[in-house]
Symmetry: C2
Subunit: 320 residues, 2 copies
Amino acid sequence: MAVYTEISDDDLSALMAEYDIGGVMSCKGIAEGVENSNYLLRTDKGQFFLTLYEKRVKEGDLPFFLGLMDHLSLKGVRCPVPIRGRDGVILRRVAGRPAAIVSFVDGVSVRNPGVSHCGQLGQALAGLHSAGKDFALRRPNALSVDGWRPLVDACLGNADRVRPGLSEELGSELSLLETRWPRHLPEGVIHADLFPDNVHFLGGKLSGLIDFYFACDDFLAYDLAVCLNAWCFEADGAYNLTKGRALLREYCADRTLTAAEVAAFPLLCRGAAFRFLLTRLYDWLNQVPGALVKPKDPLEYWRKLGFHRAAKGPAAYGLE
Amino acid sequence: MAVYTEISDDDLSALMAEYDIGGVMSCKGIAEGVENSNYLLRTDKGQFFLTLYEKRVKEGDLPFFLGLMDHLSLKGVRCPVPIRGRDGVILRRVAGRPAAIVSFVDGVSVRNPGVSHCGQLGQALAGLHSAGKDFALRRPNALSVDGWRPLVDACLGNADRVRPGLSEELGSELSLLETRWPRHLPEGVIHADLFPDNVHFLGGKLSGLIDFYFACDDFLAYDLAVCLNAWCFEADGAYNLTKGRALLREYCADRTLTAAEVAAFPLLCRGAAFRFLLTRLYDWLNQVPGALVKPKDPLEYWRKLGFHRAAKGPAAYGLE
């Protein structure tokens, strides 16, 4: 995170005058969030999250992201609720940046999710997909199969520095995925980045989903594959079948997968692993020395990809 | 800030079990503080500040800093109050780092302090000096006159990149300061870094002083000089006599300056400006590309130094 906009007390006072959410008690810039400048804002009425959107987020996408959170929260999904000013407006400008205030989702994220966490995630993900059904706006997934080749091309020259032979593997894997990627599966709004960082728990119970800035339209089961990769593997790279089963069972309790989704699931997992291998590899190869956020290990996802390439079918995941 | 220790939910749970401050509602790493990893910790009983001390803070100094905050808060100074665990202990270890929890000081810092802010600061600074009188621990000021030559030496080769002729000016200024620096003035515990960042206001009223990690023993009037430099100059480099008078008047209302302090004040201001010119210059010349915190402009303090060099005596500051 090389960009961070500081908000002055005068900017903050001017902003707060637009809202009816109480007087400022404190406002601290927080260290997470690679894409934006985030502030934890506490007033005498509660705790909020103020985001100033930096260049990596397209301003044209903000009505989708904020509209989605607004829509989902009205449907009962526990997620940040965009706060409207006295004028009814959610998105405004602060310190020259687009900015919005959302409610704060209590809880902390878990570093090593257990079976119960995975089950609760499955239930919450199904709830998210169900609540998103009648959301009116659309945003194609720029990081699905059609978006992978430019990233592969950008990494090819240097990928072997991370692991000898990786460039060739990326090329052949991409060709296979492009050929076999499904064309027709149930679609809808997906979170697309529901890692443990983006799920809060309070006293062991899921208290909310956060960070909707990768949300888009895509196959619903692809979102489930992203979660399986992020939640159901152990630190040593092994797939934890018990956690995977808990995730899938609780998801399917709310939304039954179609036969086509079940059949495609191993390939979706493979594609999801490839997508995070690619973006992590890109960030690894283009890292900024001394930046606050250390790039994540791309090879974690290379190992997960290996599991999916060897998987014999849906049963390997606990899908019957 | 290139170092940041992430605290896991398991580390946090283990830590909280040592305290009687309620259950965790949220815990977010915050983006300020160049020296340490800071977390805003909210429980059902209140808001706290959890600090993991990184390498730039000497572990041996922590009993001084934490003991000082404890001492000052007992004397009624509004500052972070170190929280004792059930075992009575303040300083412990988290994620391999020394760590402590302190109370959160409500309020926000002001970017452009007005006359009223300066007056309130003067009053609070005098209160701090008075409350610190009987604090038992000692910590010499490593960044006073004896500590400047190594920094000058480290900058000499490159200072002219920032401003032609700066190396020569640094050398002659240092010689003058070393020769004329006072030897006997009233001493005590000083904050030593009481910039607007480190003072909180709530509804226009000073609500507390924070960040005691430069606190040390030195001339009390030197602390006042640091504040005058940080609070009473305008963005264009001009000294604001009205703000300076408010600061000095309110400070002196609580603690009368001795004749020797008044006589030495212009030189103390000059030394204080030199000290921040030096450390900012050093950080500027040794900056880490892409780091979250942008180094501050050293020449701001070069301009302030120019004012002090030209000042005819205490009256130039509003000291009668």
